[in-house]
């Protein structure tokens, strides 16, 4: 399959850095746990740091996973916060393109780029 490893375990974790919160996803983001993803993404907006969603280890994402990302984007816009997808895998990019959302999200290579993007 394109990008990611289909056997990677599903996980979501959060890293609080200097001026940013990074939500790290791995595995196959689908309906079975996309609500957990949504909660962690929305919680990342509690402070006033920039929010990045790290997606390099995501082997699959369905529309419910994309919906969680879209909610994050809406939250960022409402609060005037920086928000970007960090290093999305080919599998994620393919679905974003298919959904015509690849130009809607800011996509950056790493957290430095996230902080630099204004």
């Amino acid at each position: 399959m394109i990008g990611g490893n289909p056997t990677a375990t599903n996980s979501v974790s959060r890293e609080d850095g200097a001026g940013f919160v990074l939500v790290r996803l791995s595995g196959e983001v689908d309906l079975s746990w996309s609500q957990d993803v949504r909660r962690v993404v929305l919680a990342a907006f509690a402070g006033d740091a920039a929010v990045g969603i790290e997606l390099s280890a995501v082997g699959y994402i369905d529309s419910s996973g994309i919906a969680a990302l879209v909610e994050g984007l809406q939250q960022a816009r409402a609060n005037g916060r920086r928000f970007a997808l960090v290093a999305p895998s080919d599998a994620v990019r393919a679905v974003l393109e298919l959904a015509r959302l690849d130009r809607v999200f800011a996509i950056v290579a790493d957290t430095d780029a996230l902080l630099a993007s204004a």
Partner: protein, 571 residues
Amino acid sequence: MTTARQRIAAAHAPPRVREADALAFLADLSRSLAVSLDLRETLPRTITQVRDFLDVEGIALFLLDAATQVLECKVSAGPVDVTGLRLAVGQGIVGRAVAEDATQLVADASADSRVWRAADETTGFVTRSIVCAPLRTAAGPIGVIEIVNRRDGKPFTDVDAELLDLVAAPAALAINNARMAGALLEQQRLKREFDLARHLQKSLLPRRRRDAFPVIGVNRPAHEISGDFYDYFELADGRIGFVVGDISGKGLDAALLMVRAASLLRWAGKDGLAPSAWLARANDELCETARDGRFVCALVGYVDRAATRVQFAGAGFPPVVVHRDGRYTGHVAGGPPLGILRGIAFESHDVALDGGTFYAFSDGATDVRDAAGQPIGLAGMRALIARHARDTPQARLRGLLGDLKRLRLVDDTTLLLIEAPQAEHPELLLARTLPARAEAMRELRAELRATFDEHGIEPRLRDRLVLAVDEACTNIIRHGYGPECEGAIALRVLRSDATLGIELVDDAPAVDPASIKPGTLGDCRCGGLGVALIDEVMDEWRIEPAEDGCGNRLVLRKRIETWACEEADES
């Protein structure tokens, strides 16, 4: 060459031809001959140069026709034009040079009875002295170069003979090269013509019908072009006429007869005559023109659209096989091949298919050899049919042809199959029932990926299809069954021709198709994205009540281009 040079230097004082001049001349001659592929232009010039260099009155170049063993003068220069003169191998000094593959020196021609004098007698020319050198190649002499009479009036010597020998070598090489180049061009021209013929032949085969049609065929030539063909067409009364033919012999003339026979058999069948009369009419026509002992084996017949009965007649064609309920019945469709004897009667046969399948195959199929080198015969064909009996008609023909190819096809092979058309007769790629729970989706996706890989769907499209099926399932889980409800989804992945079908059946409350609306792609709002993705990936989808009146049936379809190419390859 050393010997010749030494002799040139030693025999003449002062030498008639200086060594340095001779070498320069030979080098020049070799160069101009080596770069020439058009000898009609190069040879006359070369011959004249050689005549002047050797300072002789006449010179002629003869080439040997390998088939007739006749030497013909292609170019000459001198007081008598002998171009076109023909001599047998062994005739005269020229013929002797070839027969013995050795240079001939006749110092005094008047004293030699072997000299062929006919030309002298008609022209008044006097042949005093002759040297003939064969044009040698690895495959033997291909001609002769002859010089007549030194201009200084003296007889030819060994030195002259050896000089001519030296001239003959590059000439032979050049002529041989040009012939090989010509043969190569001829081969390329033939290949182009064969490609064209194959293309034309292929275009004569009927197009595969996409609708519910009872007759399908495949044709696989063993070489560039085929002597086999099949055809089918509809009559005004709704019946379908079919033809399978096999021309005796191979090659371009067999292929041309095939074109004629194919159009003749189609024409003769359009009136709906009984199959026996149809063959008799085609036979009489073919007898008027068929030559060279070529003949045509053919099977013709009619079938109704529902394929309940087949009427047929054969002319030198292998028996047909009817397969029904696991039983195979052979039907010998007697009668001699077409194009041999006028006024022959043929016999019509009639078989009820009753849901069975009618197979006709040219002898290319039954002549295929098994591992022991024996033709597999009808018994072998039955075994092969049994192997693929569960497949759809198209997949069955594909499988049969694949097996025959593995067994080594030695002849053109044509298979024709008649069977009641199924409204939908798809090939089942995957069937699975899964609990309607989001946790079941990961395993299903892995299974779908493996299935799509196995059937040659490229990764990018595979991943999109997996996404679309996943979205369809999660929609059923979320909106069909809802959070409280337990249920199952029955999934079937099907192939019908080049179309992939995905069928999802649930027993959730009936869904109003009008209530399902896709969102807009690129829209930054949630909701409707799953359906929009399905829309984007699939060619078509629809939801309808399941057959037993409870639950829903969702069908997704996508045309797979790589499958379409496979099929185009086979028809």
